[in-house]
């Protein structure tokens, strides 16, 4: 799609959408949001970019094929489940830092599970869309 307006807008929208997706990811513990929705929004940012610049350019922007996000995300989520067991707690127990971090707030192991979901969703959505795009071209 070659539209000057969309092209200009998408280069500004990409960082804003990514930032927004991280905001959604972080507020997800107590409010609507979380890893799945955040991941979808981040994926939309990249999809918009690939609409205007072509999927080749988006792949270049990502530096790696999106499918490599899937094992990383799964690994982060699985580790966040498993780590409490090292301290003798049952699997999936939430562990929290004592002090809240500036800006982000209090961080617990649940956030890393969400982060894993976030990465898996980006990876899966982009892999599916890029695979379809490659076949249709």
């Amino acid at each position: 799609m070659k539209s000057a307006i969309l092209k200009t807008a998408s280069s500004y929208l990409l960082p804003i959408l990514l930032l927004f997706s991280i905001f959604i990811l972080l507020r997800g513990h107590y409010h609507p949001g979380g890893g799945f929705v955040g991941g979808l929004i981040a994926a939309i940012a990249f999809v918009l970019h690939s609409f205007t610049h072509g999927s080749e350019a988006t792949l270049k922007l990502l530096h790696t094929h999106p499918s490599s996000f899937i094992p990383i995300g799964l690994g982060v989520a699985a580790l966040s489940m498993f780590v409490p067991m090292l301290g003798g707690q049952p699997v999936m127990t939430s562990l929290w830092f004592n002090e809240p971090f500036p800006v982000i707030g209090l961080i617990g192991s649940a956030l890393f599970f969400d982060l894993g979901v976030y990465l898996v969703v980006i990876g899966a959505v982009l892999t599916i869309l890029f695979t379809i795009a490659q076949y249709s071209e």
Partner: protein, 507 residues
């Protein structure tokens, strides 16, 4: 007793699968990681079994949420035995797949899916929460959908459509059943459900809910009249995949039936009669199907259906002796059914076909291998003192005590039909001279050109599982003890319920 390590059988396969995803498209790394993961899985399973066999029922409450509110994992002897057998099958299939699965399939993620499947199986055996059981069933069927379609040959797709349609239908019934059960009791924890369902006064409603579960698990374990998807799909994927499916996927349905119908819906007259009728018809249909098939794997598929009936019949009689027999048969069946599909895969490697009319002369060519295969096949038939023989004695004994002559007759017919088809297969495939096949269908030998190491990777798993089968047969005393212990736990569920719910009071 609380033991947080009982989820390790689930976690080990999860991490193996994730690690495999990191090595996407690297086939050698996949083979090595998968075999290592499955070996660690066996060590963990043996450890778990030793802990449970020596003492109490172990529980774990995920994230520390107390049962009956949180998700509970429970390892009793039944669960841990199933986990142990799963890990034996898992290792055998991992090793066999290293050579038996084509490179193209490994590149597109065969091994990660195998380990997700094993993770789902272990989770289903260990969970003590009925909705969590449903989730693990979903993990299992999603992984199995990938495994059955991977490769995308036309026959495979055709088989998998039937497989997928029936399994999704089964999950829908299962989920509906859970919904109704939750509606009438307000709980999902199996131990809690056991108490609450027993206290319900409207028994018609309970029976009706039970039917949902019978249909759901019945489709999954392929009982009459919902078995037809199995013979029409199990011969399509590669033999290593069919081996996991045959050995474990139908058995997880049986596991769930046993768990549900001893803990939650204690069978009354109506359910027992229903289960026995289903069992008789399952045995007979499986028998008739097996007798007329000429393709080795199709014949084995019908034998799966036939032998599922033995276990359902044992559950239907619901005496301690009958349950002992059915459980013993379940243990024996997991090992043997996995193995016969691996054997079918090996025969295909040797000759390039599975049509019995075109096969022959294997005994003359590979006498030692044929001897090992003979042990497995005759264990399947149940020739004393091999493993299929002992459980039938218990089933007969229970049938005589309970006056279930029709079921006994069906089991006898099923056994003789198994004997007939297996000896026919033995005569055709091993004793008969190799018939000359010409033209396009000429036989190909993919086995001989392989290096010695690769050959041992194909034959090793078969010998390994045959050794376990031999142990089950010759050391039947030990296996009977395990089966009796589990049957005892099934008849008296108080220790299970106390292990799960009692932890509330101690803390």
């Amino acid at each position: 007793m609380i033991d947080n390590t009982i989820v390790f059988p689930v976690i080990v396969h999860l991490f193996t699968a994730i690690l495999l995803l990191f090595f996407w498209r690297k086939t050698l790394a996949h083979r090595i990681i998968s075999i290592t993961g499955s070996t660690i899985g066996i060590a963990i399973a043996i450890n778990l079994f030793a802990k449970v066999w020596g003492g109490d029922i172990l529980t774990m409450e995920a994230a520390g949420w107390k049962s009956p509110f949180g998700i509970t994992f429970v390892a009793d002897v039944f669960s841990s035995t199933m986990v142990l057998l799963t890990s034996f099958s898992g290792l055998a299939v991992s090793v066999f797949s290293a050579i038996g699965i084509a490179r193209g399939r490994i590149i597109y993620g065969y091994f990660p899916m195998l380990h997700f499947l094993l993770m789902g199986l272990n989770g289903a055996f260990l969970t003590g929460d009925i909705f969590n059981l449903y989730v693990y069933f979903e993990v299992i069927i999603i992984a199995s959908f990938v495994l059955i379609t991977l490769g995308g040959r036309k026959a495979q797709i055709e088989g998998s459509v039937k497989y997928m349609a029936m399994n999704i239908l089964a999950s829908t019934f299962f989920l509906t059943g859970i919904g109704i059960l939750y509606g009438i009791t307000g709980s999902l924890n199996m131990a809690d459900l056991s108490l609450k369902v027993a206290a319900l006064e409207n028994r018609t409603l309970v029976d009706l809910t039970a039917i949902f579960f019978i249909i759901g698990f019945g489709i999954k374990s392929a009982v009459f009249p919902l078995y037809f998807w199995l013979p029409s799909s199990y011969h399509t994927p590669p033999s290593a995949v069919a081996a996991v499916f045959a050995g474990l996927l139908t058995k997880v349905g049986i596991y769930a039936l046993f768990r549900m119908f001893t803990l939650i819906f204690v069978p009354d007259e109506f359910t027992r009669t229903l289960l026995i009728v289903i069992a008789v018809l399952t045995i007979l249909t499986g028998t008739f199907g097996a007798v007329i098939k000429n393709n080795i794997r199709r014949m084995f598929s019908y034998l799966i259906v036939c032998h599922i009936g033995f276990m359902v019949g044992g559950l239907g009689m619901y005496s301690e002796v009958a349950l002992t027999g059915a459980l013993f048969y379940l243990f024996h069946d997991i090992m043997v059914k996995t193995n016969i599909f691996l054997i079918a895969g090996l025969i295909r490697k040797l000759r390039g076909t599975m049509n019995m009319d075109k096969l022959g002369g294997l005994y003359a060519e590979y006498p030692l291998l044929s001897f090992v295969i003979a042990i497995v096949l005759f264990s399947l038939v149940g020739i004393p003192p091999l493993s299929g023989f002992w459980p039938k004695i218990y089933l007969f004994e229970a049938g005589l005590m309970d006056n279930q002559y029709v079921l006994i007759a069906a089991i006898i017919i099923g056994s003789f039909a198994t004997l007939y088809v297996i000896s026919m297969m033995w005569a055709k495939v091993f004793w008969k001279d190799q018939p000359t096949v010409e033209g396009e269908e000429a036989l190909t030998d993919d086995f001989r050109p392989l290096s010695k190491f690769k050959k041992s990777l194909l034959v090793g798993p078969i010998v390994f599982l045959a050794a376990i089968t031999l142990y089950i047969g010759l050391a039947a005393e030990n296996v009977t003890q395990v089966a009796k212990h589990i049957a005892g736990e099934m008849k008296d569920t108080t220790p299970y319920i106390e292990a799960v719910l009692g932890t509330n009071e101690t803390q």
